[in-house]
């Protein structure tokens, strides 16, 4: 790392100037680490039914349960230690968000760049379809698809992808269309390079900055949408609760003042989403040449 002008280093130097974004990055990294090492840091494995005791259910924060340790954030209706459930839930929410984000990124970029590069009928067909879909609210689309496919991880990710790929397609199309008209692409096409090579080597790399920005926002959206669907009872099965499912489980008990079951998973969810959004905003500002000093 002695070479001071690697792009990553320059990026970080500029990034460091925004203190809020640095804090957000810290939280984001911390949450991701907690999710990865959930098995080591949580006091209990919340998926192992043998560990759970109904005697311990719905206990307030600070309760010492039958396991002999303190439930720092209390327990949920199934008697799970809430802190452990949140770590494992974070893992599921992040995995679902990343998976949905990457599949939508791939699918959307492929469609958008194809439309911009090929042009003509293909272009207008693809973009009409995308525009039509963008005019339809994502939540409704995801709701219908989950209802159609039933519960499960793959089904849920498919629904999120269906609701999101259009944003990537639109962004990739816009970027690729602008790049396509530039001289360097024309020059590359005039050489004996194959069209595929030009797309891979020249067109695609120049379209990545806006796509990365959309990707951060869409991963946050996917996590939020997954939580919403789980809350509505259309997400993952109850045995492996995501953050949204934990919140949903606690909802009926909120009226009687047992707030912790819903509130703490919610706080984790919001810190995660807000952190991703702030980091994403900062990255967008840094990629935007108009805001460059």
């Amino acid at each position: 790392m002695k070479n001071k002008s690697t792009p990553l280093r320059r990026f970080w130097v500029e990034y460091r100037e925004n203190k809020i974004a640095v804090v957000a990055m810290f939280f984001l990294v911390a949450l991701i680490l907690l999710a990865i090492f959930a098995g080591f840091v949580s006091p209990q494995n919340p998926y192992d039914l043998a560990n759970l005791s109904l005697m311990d259910s719905r206990r307030p924060p600070g309760f010492v349960g039958t396991g002999g340790y303190t439930h720092i954030l209390g327990t949920d209706p199934q008697g799970r230690d809430l802190l452990s459930a949140i770590f494992y839930g974070l893992r599921i929410s992040i995995i679902i968000g990343l998976a949905a984000g990457f599949v939508s990124l791939t699918l959307g970029t492929a469609l958008g760049i194809t439309a911009a590069y090929v042009g003509g009928r293909v272009e207008s067909l693809i973009m009409r379809l995308i525009d039509l879909q963008l005019s339809f609210p994502a939540i409704l689309l995801a709701l219908v698809i989950v209802a159609l496919l039933g519960q499960g991880k793959v089904q849920l990710i498919s629904a999120l992808v269906a609701a999101q790929y259009a944003y990537f397609a639109r962004t990739a199309y816009g970027a690729a269309k602008a790049e396509r008209g530039k001289d360097y692409i024309e020059a590359a096409l005039a050489t004996p390079l194959s069209g595929r090579l030009v797309v891979w080597r020249h067109l695609l790399p120049n379209c990545t900055p806006p796509l990365i920005v959309v990707a951060t926002v869409q991963i946050a959206n996917a996590i939020s949408l997954e939580a919403t669907l789980s809350f509505l009872g259309l997400g993952l099965p109850v045995t492996e609760p995501s953050l949204g499912m934990l919140i949903s489980n606690g909802f009926p008990y909120m009226m009687s003042g047992r707030y912790w079951i819903s509130v703490y998973p919610g706080v984790a969810l919001i810190v995660l989403i807000v952190a991703i959004n702030i980091v994403g905003d900062q990255v967008r500002d840094q990629f935007n040449p108009r805001l460059r000093k």
Binding site: L143, V144, M254, M255, G257, N277, I278
Partner: protein
């Protein structure tokens, strides 16, 4: 101009036809409604009788044509569960959803545009920074979570406002509305606030971006040079110039808020269309789902069509460019 209208109209009809096929086929693929509608102890004869009566024995494309034929005559079928015409069921729930959506979209627009203009006019004041912080929160925090916190805070902890239901209603021309009664109004506040937050954030951003851009233009310079007061400039000139994107978004948001009401209505047990559709998905009440989705699609196509027309009226470039 007439050519443009006809072209756009045909497009809208085409989109509706495609949507109806997708929705119908999609919803057809869910589960098997026969097991839900017919009790397991029913005899074979009764089973076949019911399947025939519901038209479930016909091939898919025939069911679609029967469905479309009925649809064009204003008949969207009967609910499997409630055994009443779907249109009646949805129509009965519609006023509750409409009043919720209208109240939240209108208040979000009025408040959001005012706050956004302020934040754009004085971008460096701390109030503007607070306004922008609210808008970032409104964008990132999932709306169902805000709903929970609102209930926890205002209904459970403080006990100021009710947590669910519609409260007392007043009948106006045979339709029950909540907003004219004080009790009903108190029931609307929390769900409307919940539903409005995202729109509020969006309107603030739109108005702020528009204001910042337009304050730098010659129009404003000349208006100032002419000696107009700042208030007059903001009201007469700025508001007019930023209104086009705001009107567009207002129209589009009206539709998407209707869709988002699904979440809010579930949290606050608001007896509207959104709650109906969630309940219908849970019990696989296929006619209700199909009808709802087709109505929403119709709403969106209509809104887009109207927006296109309004644009064409305002901007001659759209008229010329659109007839490809």
């Amino acid at each position: 101009m007439l050519g443009f209208i006809i072209q756009r109209f045909l497009q809208a009809v085409g989109v509706m036809a495609v949507m109806s096929v997708i929705v119908f086929c999609g919803v057809y693929a869910i589960g098997n409604p026969i097991d839900i509608v017919i009790p397991p102890e029913a005899t074979q004869e009764i089973r076949e009788e019911v399947i025939r009566r519901l038209g479930l024995d016909l091939p898919l494309y025939k069911q679609y044509f029967i469905f479309m034929g009925n649809l064009l005559q204003g008949d969207l079928g009967r609910s499997f569960i409630y055994n009443v015409p779907v249109l009646e069921l949805i129509g009965g729930r519609m006023p509750a959803t409409l009043e919720l959506v209208l109240i939240s979209v209108i208040s979000a627009t009025v408040l959001g545009v005012s706050l956004g203009i302020y934040a754009g006019y004085r971008p460096d004041s701390w109030i503007s920074k607070a306004i922008m912080a609210i808008s970032v929160l409104g964008f990132s925090v999932p709306s169902f979570w805000v709903g929970l916190i609102l209930i926890l805070f205002f209904a459970v902890k403080l006990g100021w406002l009710p947590a669910g239901g519609r409260g007392d209603t007043l009948e106006i021309w045979g339709v029950a509305w909540s907003f004219p009664t004080l009790n009903g109004l108190s029931h609307i506040v929390l769900p409307a606030l919940n539903l409005a937050l995202f729109k509020l954030a969006m309107m603030i951003r739109l108005a702020r971006a528009g204001t910042r851009e337009i304050m730098l233009t010659d129009t404003i310079k000349f208006a100032r040079a002419a000696g107009l007061s700042e208030g007059t400039i903001l009201r007469r000139h700025l508001l007019k110039l930023i209104s086009i994107p705001i009107i567009t978004v207002f129209g589009l948001e009206l539709g998407s808020t209707l869709a988002f009401a699904v979440v809010t209505e579930t949290i606050f047990s608001w007896p509207g269309v959104g709650k109906l559709i969630i309940d219908s998905i849970a019990v696989l009440d296929r006619p209700v789902m199909v009808a709802y989705l087709i109505l929403v699609a119709f709403l969106f196509v209509t809104i887009n069509f109207v927006i296109d027309l309004v644009f064409a009226l305002i901007d001659p470039r759209v008229r010329a460019g659109a007839v490809k």
